[in-house]
C-alpha cells in the first residue's frame, strides 16, 4: 500500500510539469499579452513604453524560455507577481522591509470560494441523499417523478436569471436578505456573532443557487446506485432472511450504493477552488472565478498559471484520494477479488 502511494506521488511530478507546459503553451497561443490589454488604446501611451514593459516581463523572449523561467521560479514554490494588479504576489502574502504586508491574490480569493463551495456541497449532499433514496424506493411513482422533475428544473434553470429574480424578491421587494457583496457597510462595528450572521445572510443566496444547480447530478447518482444495488441478489437474500425493510435499505443497500460517490467527491476537490464567474459577478463576491476570468482577459500570465497549477495539483490529489478511499471502502478493490 505504501509503495503504491509513493509510486503514485512520484508520477505526479512529471504529470504536473506536463500539464503546466501544455497550459503555458495554450495560454501563449492566445493573441496578445498584458501590453495589449492595459492602456493599449490610450494615445497618451507609446509603443516604446509598451516594448519596455514587454522586456521587463520577459514577454519578448521565446515562449519556451519564458516557460523555463517560470518553471525555475516554481521549483522554489515562487508563484511570482501579477502583471495587471500592481505586482501583487500571486499566491501568498509578502512583507516588505517596512513591515507592510501585501496579501496574495489567491490567498484572498480562495477562502471565500472554498467557504461557499464547501457549504453548498454540504447542502447538496444533505438534500441529494434523501432525495435519491426516496426516488429509488418509489421508482417511477409520483414521488420519484416529482423529485426528478424538480432536480432537473434546478439543473436547467439559468442560474443568473434565478439569482436575479431571488435578489429582486428577497432584497428589493422585501428587505429579507442583502442583495450583493459579503458584508454590510460598517459591519466591522458589530459584535462577532452579528458579523457572522451578517456574512451568512450575504452567503445564503449564492449557496442556495449553486446548491440547486448541483442537486441533479448527485441525487440521480444516488438514485441509480440505489436501484442497481436493490436489484442485487444479496438484497433479496437479506429480505428473505426477514430483515426489516429499513435495515435492508439503509444498512445493506445504501452503503454500497454510496461507493461511486467517492469518485465524484474526489473529482469535485479541484472544483472546490474554482468559482463561477457568473455567480461571483452577480453577487459581487471576490472569489476565484472572477480572479481567473479577469486574469485571462488581461493576459495576466502569472495569475493564470498560478491558478491552473494549483487546480491541476488538486485534481491529481483528488484522484489519488478517491482511489485510496475507494480501496479503503470496498474490499473488492483492495483485495482484487473478481466478481
Amino acid at each position: 500500500m505504501l509503495k503504491y502511494l509513493i509510486n503514485r506521488l512520484f508520477w505526479m511530478v512529471p504529470l504536473l510539469v506536463g500539464i503546466s507546459l501544455i497550459s503555458f503553451l495554450i495560454m501563449h497561443l492566445a493573441p496578445g499579452d498584458i501590453t495589449a490589454t492595459e492602456a493599449s488604446f490610450n494615445p497618451k501611451t507609446s509603443e516604446e513604453s509598451r516594448q519596455k514593459l514587454r522586456e521587463l516581463y520577459n514577454l519578448d523572449k521565446p515562449v519556451i524560455v519564458q516557460y523555463g523561467l517560470w518553471l525555475k521560479r516554481m521549483s522554489t514554490l515562487d508563484f511570482g507577481h501579477s502583471f495587471a494588479s500592481h505586482q501583487s504576489p500571486v499566491f501568498w502574502q509578502e512583507t516588505d522591509k517596512e513591515g507592510n504586508v501585501t496579501k496574495g491574490m489567491i490567498q484572498e480569493a480562495l477562502p471565500i470560494t472554498l467557504l461557499i463551495n464547501v457549504l453548498s456541497l454540504i447542502l447538496i449532499i444533505g438534500l441529494a441523499l434523501p432525495l435519491g433514496v426516496i426516488s429509488a424506493l418509489t421508482q417511477n411513482k409520483l414521488p420519484d417523478r416529482s423529485i426528478t422533475i424538480f432536480v432537473f428544473i434546478g439543473f436547467a434553470i439559468p442560474s443568473f436569471w434565478l439569482a436575479l429574480m431571488l435578489m429582486y424578491w428577497t432584497g428589493v421587494s422585501h428587505n429579507w436578505l442583502p442583495i450583493s457583496g459579503l458584508h454590510t457597510l460598517g459591519a466591522e462595528k458589530l459584535s462577532a456573532f452579528a458579523q457572522l450572521l451578517d456574512t451568512l445572510k450575504h452567503l445564503t443566496l449564492p449557496i442556495l443557487i449553486s446548491g440547486l444547480t448541483g442537486l441533479a447530478g448527485i441525487s440521480l447518482f444516488v438514485r441509480n446506485g440505489m436501484l442497481d444495488v436493490l436489484h442485487q441478489d444479496y438484497i433479496t437474500t437479506a429480505r428473505a432472511k426477514g430483515l426489516p425493510e429499513n435495515t435492508v435499505v439503509y444498512k445493506h443497500a445504501l452503503r454500497n450504493a454510496l461507493l461511486p460517490l467517492i469518485t465524484i467527491f474526489g473529482l469535485s476537490i479541484p472544483g472546490l477552488i474554482g468559482g463561477s464567474v457568473i455567480a461571483e459577478s452577480i453577487f459581487a463576491i471576490p472569489g476565484m472565478g472572477k480572479l481567473f476570468y479577469d486574469a485571462v482577459l488581461m493576459r495576466d500570465f502569472p495569475v493564470i498559471m498560478g491558478i491552473l497549477t494549483i487546480g491541476s495539483a488538486l485534481t491529481l490529489i483528488g484522484n489519488l484520494l478517491a482511489d485510496l478511499a475507494y480501496a479503503w471502502a470496498d474490499p473488492r478493490v483492495r483485495k482484487g477479488v473478481s466478481q
Binding site: 516594448q51 521587463l56 436569471w161 436575479l164 429582486y168 450583493s180 464567474v277
Partner: protein, 555 residues
C-alpha cells in the same frame, strides 16, 4: 475549470438585461415611501456618506502605474495635479496658482499655491513635483504613460514653490499632460520601488479625501482630508462598492443600498420612466461622455483609398438611426473628434446627412455599379464587399448591424466580425490586417491628436493604424503642437477638423451620453450638466442630515 468563453458571458449579459427589464417594468410599485421628503430644499451642510458602485476594482491607487479607469476614478479624489480642467473644460490651476510660458514657448514655470500640505501634515513643495516627474520618466518605472514627460529636457525646482520645465521645442500638449499627472509625496516614496510599493494600497495624497479603508474585492472608503489643498468637501465619506454586474448594481440602487451608479440607456430611457417610485427618489442626469464611436477604413487598401467611396459610405449611413436604435436617443452625432460645446469643436461643421442617392452617385463616379445585376455593386468584376471588425461591445455590435443594413440598401455587401479585445489588438490592429473597424476614440480635452492622425504614426503599435496620410493635416497637427496660445490653436484645430471631415477617413457615428443616477438625498448637483459633467463640483455636493442613511441600517 472556471473559464467561461466571453461570448457566452455576453449572451448571458444580454439575457440578463432583457429579463430584468421585463421584470422591472412589469413589477408594480410596492416600495415603501421615503420617510423624509427629498424634494424640499435643505441648506447646504457638511457630513454624511455617499455610496456608489463601480464595476472593477483598482489594482492600486497610483494612477500612472494602474491602467484601469477605476484606479483613476478613486485616485483623483486623493491626489492633485498641477493643473485641472474647470467646468467648461478650460485649463486652470490646481496645485499651481499660476503658470507662465516663456517667450520662446519652450519653458513653462509653475508657481505653486502657498502652504500646501500632504494629508499627513508634511509640506507639499516643488520638490515633490520634481520627484514625480523623475519617477514617471524613470526607465525602471513600469508605466505606459511616460512619453509626454520624457520630452522635458530639463526639470528644476529653483525654490520650494516654483517648478520649471524646459522642452526641446515648444510643445503645446504639455499643459494638458501636467493636468494628468498626480503629484506623489517624495518623503514617503523616495526609498521605495514604485513598481510594488505598498503605498499604492495605502496612499497619502493632498486632495479632498484620503483613504480610510480598503476591503479587498468589496469596497473602498475615503474620508475627508483635513489638510486638503483645495479646501474642504461637504460630504464626509465616499464609499465605493465593487459590484461587477450592472443588473446587481441597479437592484442595489433600487433597494437604496447605493446612492449612485451610471445607468445604461435601457435603464435610463425604459425602466425609469415606467417606475414613478424610482423617479421619486432617484434623480437621473445626462452628461456628454468622453468618447465617440466611429467606422474607420483601412486607407492602404482598395477601395478605401478613394475618397469618393469613403464619402459615399458616410452618406449612406443614417447616424440618427444608430443613435435612436442603439442608444435609445441618448447620444449626439459629431462632426469632429472634439466634444461639442467646447472651444476645440468647430461649430460650423455638420455631420454628413443621410443621403443614399448621393452615395450611389458617388460610387458610380468611382466606378462601382451593379453590372452583373446580383444586387451588389461591382467594379472590374469584383463585388464591393468587406468585413466590419469590432470588439465585444454591445453598442458597437448593434451599430455594426445597422451600418450593414444601410450599406446593403445601396448595394454594398458587409459582413460583421466580433473578436475579443486582446486578440483584436494583436491580431488585427497591430498587423493592419483589416478592412473596416468599428471602434471608439476619446473626445480629447487636449486638442492635439497627432498620435492618431499624423502620417508618421503608422508603425505597428502606433495609433494611426488606419494609415491616414494628408499633408495638409500633417502640417496643421505639427503647427498645433507648437502653438501655446489658445485662440491661435483653436483656429488651427478648427481647420484640421474641417479637412478631416471632408476627407472622411472615418465615419463619425455618435458620441454617447454618460447617464449617472444619483439618489435625491444628494443635493447641490448641477443640472443640466456643464461640459465637464456633473462631477466637476462634487466637493460642493451635500447630504442634508434628515436624509442621511442610518449607518447600520444601510442594509
Amino acid at each position: 475549470m472556471v473559464n467561461q468563453p466571453k461570448s457566452m458571458m455576453k449572451k448571458l449579459n444580454r439575457l440578463i438585461s432583457i429579463s430584468i427589464t421585463i421584470l422591472l417594468i412589469s413589477c408594480g410599485q410596492q416600495k415603501k415611501d421615503p420617510s423624509a421628503n427629498v424634494n424640499q430644499p435643505y441648506p447646504s451642510q457638511s457630513g454624511g456618506a455617499l455610496v456608489d458602485a463601480m464595476s472593477g476594482e483598482p489594482s492600486g491607487l497610483i494612477a500612472m502605474m494602474a491602467g484601469e479607469s477605476s484606479a483613476s476614478a478613486i485616485a483623483s479624489n486623493i491626489f492633485n495635479s498641477l493643473l485641472k480642467y474647470d467646468k467648461n473644460l478650460e485649463l486652470t490651476g490646481e496645485l499651481a496658482q499660476s503658470w507662465d510660458v516663456s517667450s520662446d514657448q519652450k519653458t513653462i514655470t509653475f508657481h505653486l499655491k502657498p502652504n500646501l500640505k500632504w494629508a499627513d501634515g508634511h509640506a507639499l513643495t516643488s520638490d515633490d513635483v520634481l520627484f514625480t516627474w523623475k519617477t514617471v520618466t524613470d526607465d525602471k518605472t513600469r508605466s505606459p504613460y511616460g512619453a509626454d514627460y520624457k520630452l522635458v529636457k530639463k526639470a528644476e525646482a529653483p525654490n520650494s514653490s516654483t517648478f520649471k520645465v524646459t522642452y526641446e521645442a515648444p510643445y503645446a500638449p504639455a499643459l494638458d499632460s501636467w493636468s494628468g499627472l498626480h503629484i506623489l509625496p517624495k518623503h514617503l516614496l523616495q526609498d521605495q520601488d514604485i513598481n510594488n510599493t505598498s503605498f499604492s494600497r495605502n496612499p497619502v495624497g493632498s486632495h479632498y479625501y484620503q483613504l480610510d479603508q480598503w476591503k479587498k474585492g468589496e469596497s473602498i472608503t475615503l474620508k475627508r482630508n483635513p489638510n486638503g489643498t483645495q479646501g474642504q468637501a461637504k460630504i464626509d465619506r465616499l464609499i465605493s462598492r465593487i459590484i461587477p454586474d450592472r443588473a446587481a448594481q441597479f437592484l442595489e440602487l433600487m433597494a437604496d443600498n447605493i446612492d449612485s451608479m451610471s445607468l445604461n440607456s435601457i435603464q435610463y430611457a425604459r425602466i425609469f420612466p415606467a417606475r414613478p417610485d424610482l423617479t421619486a427618489k432617484i434623480a437621473q442626469y445626462k452628461e456628454l461622455g468622453n468618447s465617440y464611436t466611429y467606422l474607420g477604413f483601412n486607407l492602404k487598401r482598395k477601395p478605401f483609398d478613394d475618397v469618393r467611396v469613403r464619402q459615399a459610405i458616410n452618406y449612406a449611413i443614417d447616424k440618427q438611426e444608430i443613435i435612436d436604435g442603439v442608444l435609445l436617443g441618448l447620444g449626439l452625432p459629431v462632426a469632429s473628434p472634439y466634444k461639442p460645446g467646447t472651444r476645440w469643436s468647430n461649430p460650423k461643421l455638420q455631420p454628413y446627412p443621410y443621403d443614399p442617392q448621393k452615395a450611389i452617385a458617388l460610387l458610380k463616379e468611382a466606378g462601382f455599379e451593379d453590372h452583373d445585376h446580383d444586387g451588389i455593386l461591382d467594379k472590374d468584376g469584383k463585388p464591393l464587399s468587406f468585413e466590419i471588425l469590432t470588439n465585444q461591445n454591445k453598442e458597437r455590435e448593434m451599430s455594426a448591424v445597422l451600418v450593414q443594413r444601410r450599406l446593403k440598401e445601396i448595394g454594398i455587401d458587409v459582413k460583421i466580425r466580433v473578436v475579443e479585445w486582446a486578440t483584436f489588438i494583436s491580431r488585427f490592429i497591430k498587423t493592419g490586417d483589416f478592412n473596416v473597424v468599428l471602434l471608439g476614440w476619446g473626445l480629447g480635452l487636449e486638442p492635439d491628436q497627432f498620435n492618431i492622425w499624423h502620417s508618421s504614426q503608422q508603425a505597428p503599435g502606433q495609433f494611426n493604424f488606419i494609415g491616414y496620410h494628408n499633408t495638409h493635416v500633417d502640417q496643421l497637427l505639427e503647427a498645433g503642437r507648437l502653438e501655446l496660445n489658445p485662440d491661435k490653436r483653436m483656429k488651427i484645430y478648427h481647420e484640421f477638423a474641417e479637412v478631416l471631415l471632408a476627407d472622411s477617413p472615418v465615419v463619425y457615428l455618435f458620441a454617447g451620453y454618460g447617464l449617472p443616477a444619483i439618489n435625491k438625498r444628494v443635493n447641490g448637483i448641477d443640472d443640466p450638466a456643464p461640459p465637464a459633467g456633473i462631477g466637476h463640483n462634487s466637493y460642493e455636493w451635500y447630504i442634508p442630515a434628515p436624509l442621511r442613511r442610518n449607518e447600520m441600517s444601510a442594509e
